[in-house]
Point group: C2
């Protein structure tokens, strides 16, 4: 099967279920040039149908196994599922994550499942602009659920709030102690808790603690009470109940008007990201000129101070 | 002792060794307003004397104990030392890091030591603009060494390259397996390796592997060969040798001209950060107007596409 290079034809192929075309489409979004822009403008009118879920939690919580189980259940309901696995590009956590990716390839033969790893390595870390635009592409190409999985380190699990409509925080009984101090932080991020490996000792203790905290911190006054689900992903226990709670949260978002709010916040981010990307690219150009280099030398020699130099640079970048 | 509020007087007080004034100075840099700008312009001409070291490594490698030991040795040489401990603001790793901070308070009584925790929580994660400008402030107020310690998760240990002249990567024998795949990544970051807890089994194996890889990957052709030091921070073993290697690296930076290169790269980042911060603030204002909200609504209703909307927004943000 040949893959068309014209953006419109490429998008049509991807929408028709050609996964090589979809892979190419996302790669072209990752290149970040004029072509990216053309592709996003083309596919944007087709977005707005997919549910976007985020899954985060500490390393070793069993997120990938849980994602596998969720995929299987969603497929049995006939839903198309895309997974974006965000690799935090940490030199200290690379190994385990690559392993997870390989395991998920069991769905490789299923045309209703698409799994893609995207890195965070970039100027500012966190979820990249490409990741956000890849979600738009997967939405526009007919996936019912787009699942964004992050490794739960650093900035990514905070950024996931900007991307996902429903955030599932996966914990294990052993997380109990280490998260004590930050429980308030987890409450802010989470829409649904999954206590995985819940056959282990201490699981009930963690569940009780979470439930107690949830009672104190509903998301707002009239309001979503964060459910706490017990799962054992490796034995496929509790996964249906977890899906049910996710569905309830999605229904809550619709009826409360919060879905529109979240979409608008996402679009606001997209606008700001586009303009920052443009500014950086324009500054790169100016700083590569003789004048740009001279300005930097003047700053280095302390003949000028940083904010003053930035003002001059800004004038030249137009 | 009263703390003056005038930026010039405040800076003078901080330079005279008044640590409350220094703390206030850095807090005012963290507020990110016109005052921040005034303070940076004032202190910038006084910078350029401090050595800036970065310390990173996986959680549990003993970074804080090692930093303690380095501080003690540097103090015995009469050097003033500042530590910026970067908290990655992860809800999953908060506890341990707070504990480290408390331990470092043993230097609290020593006026030649200043320790400050700064978060990374911000729009884009990674090391914040405030962290970079805090380094300028500590340089300008007379510290001989500014040590930036990061928890080694996510983006921060990549960003540290932009900030530090000499990066020390701390590993422990147990890190051996998990870092296999990413060894090349560690080589790019590290100027000096410290294999800590080196009394443990497998330490020599890790040292041998690192040395073998260092041989294959010198930083450039004529060039710095990354040393691998064995340390036992909790027994104060190997710390003097580590300091010696750091001093050699600093001498190498001076003679090779790489110190100027690194400073210019840091200043380039500072200029770009200043302009991005300005753009964001201006976009926040425009998006809060009726016209801004209407543009976002049009985008939400798909009457306009993202890059087109961004262009209009950019025109209004001037």
């Amino acid at each position: 099967m040949s893959i068309p290079s014209d953006p419109k034809l490429l998008l049509n192929e991807a929408r028709a279920g050609n996964r090589a075309a979809l892979a190419r489409l996302i790669s072209r979004i990752e290149t970040r040039n004029e072509d990216t822009k053309r592709i996003i403008e083309l596919l944007y009118p087709l977005t707005g149908r997919a549910q976007v879920w985020g899954i985060t939690g500490p390393p070793g919580a069993g997120k990938s196994t849980l994602v596998d189980r969720l995929i299987a259940k969603l497929r049995s309901e006939g839903k198309k599922v895309a997974v974006i696995a965000v690799d935090p590009s940490s030199p200290f956590s690379g190994g385990a994550i690559l392993g997870d990716r390989i395991r998920m390839q069991q769905h490789f033969q299923d045309e209703g499942v698409y799994i893609r790893s995207l890195g965070t390595r970039g100027r500012h870390g966190g979820l990249s602009h490409s990741t956000k635009e890849a979600v738009l592409a997967l939405d526009a190409t007919g996936f019912d659920v787009v699942l964004v999985e992050t490794a739960g380190v650093g900035q990514t699990e905070l950024d996931i709030l900007k991307l996902a409509q429903t955030v599932i925080v996966v914990l294990v009984p052993e997380s109990g102690d280490s998260i004590q101090v930050m429980k308030a932080g987890l409450m802010e991020i989470s829409d649904v808790f999954a206590v995985n490996k819940s056959d282990r000792p201490e699981a009930d203790k963690l569940v009780r603690e979470l439930v107690a905290n949830v009672g104190l911190n509903p998301h707002d006054e009239h309001s979503w009470m964060i459910p706490v689900c017990k799962t054992e992903a490796n034995r496929d226990v509790g996964v249906a109940e977890l899906l049910e709670q996710i569905a309830k949260h999605q229904a809550y978002l619709e009826t409360s008007g919060k879905k529109a709010e979240k979409t608008k916040a996402f679009l606001r981010e997209e606008l700001v990201d586009i303009l920052i990307e443009g500014l950086k690219s324009s500054l790169d150009s100016v700083l590569a000129t003789d004048g740009g280099r001279e300005l930097l030398d003047q700053l280095y020699r302390k003949e000028i101070a940083p904010y003053e130099a930035a003002k001059i640079l800004s004038g030249r970048a137009g």
